[in-house]
């Protein structure tokens, strides 16, 4: 399996495990998405760079995790971001075919989307190594 899907799968499992509603990328409103799905977390956006050494192959990635909330305040989105932090920051991930080295949060913020909902953005940087 590719590193991209392995990382996404690990994030999906980790965040689903703490009771969050997790999707790859949410359906757009204009495609008939259901507002009752809120709040949810999107884990689809991952950028990957090489982290190779002489003897090993590895990847350095940044996963941008989006939190979508239609609560009346930012509190719900912030609480979800806290749950994500508690689970992921310097935590363990299970990766098939790869060794998890490290994951830690780099930044986090919340912005108001044009439809009035709240959009939390967290970026987690991680390192993985391919198993020999």
């Amino acid at each position: 399996m590719s590193a991209e899907t392995v990382i996404q799968g690990a994030l999906f499992s980790a965040l689903s495990g703490v009771g969050l509603s997790v999707v790859d990328s949410a359906q757009q409103n204009r495609d008939g998405s259901d507002a009752s799905a809120f709040p949810y977390v999107e884990v689809g956006f991952v950028t990957i760079g090489a982290f190779d050494t002489a003897g090993e192959t590895g990847f350095d990635y940044v996963a941008r995790i989006h939190t979508r909330s239609r609560s009346a305040s930012m509190k719900e989105a912030k609480l979800i971001q806290g749950q994500i932090y508690d689970r992921l920051h310097r935590g363990a991930l299970t990766l098939v075919g790869y060794l998890h080295v490290l994951i830690q949060r780099e930044r986090s913020e919340i912005i108001r989307a044009s439809d009035g909902s709240f959009h939390g953005v967290c970026e987690y940087r991680g390192l993985i190594e391919k198993q020999p």
Binding site: F45, T47, D60, R64, H66, I111, A113, S114, H119
Partner: protein, 133 residues
């Protein structure tokens, strides 16, 4: 006059012991050059996705206040407040463009070469300037 410097250890020793003020100036300039490389890469990512030039022209590297004696620089966007919407996928097209994240990752993946090149260029320019005084 000619000065010969061999290797990074020589450069470090010379800057630390002989020219600490010059070292501060050089680190400031080098960090700004790295930020400028990220801003340039982000502008290239925007090509074809942004209608007006406001975001492209407003994206620039700025020198910030030193922190713990180390030069700091950042990429900032002036005027084009909507950069967040395009960056995070809240724009009218609903696409997460990630201009800045992709630019940062690309530059940071090659940071050794980019920072060394910027440092050497600045060092040569600084030596020429000081020697010409």
């Amino acid at each position: 006059m000619s000065v010969e410097i061999r290797g990074i250890d020589d450069v470090r020793r010379l800057l630390r012991d002989v020219m600490p003020k010059e070292a501060r100036i050089l680190t400031r300039q080098t960090t700004k050059d790295v930020a400028a490389a990220i801003a340039q890469e982000a502008r290239e990512n925007m090509a074809g996705h942004v209608d007006s030039g406001a975001l492209r022209s407003g994206t620039r590297a700025v020198q910030e206040r030193d922190k713990d004696g180390v030069g700091q620089a950042a990429v900032r966007v002036r005027r084009a407040f909507y950069w967040r919407f395009l960056e995070y996928g809240d724009g009218p097209d609903g696409i997460e463009h990630a201009f800045f994240l992709r630019a940062k990752e690309k530059v940071m993946a090659d940071i050794d070469a980019i920072a060394t090149r910027a440092f050497v260029q600045r060092l040569v320019a600084r030596i020429s300037k000081v020697a010409g005084r």
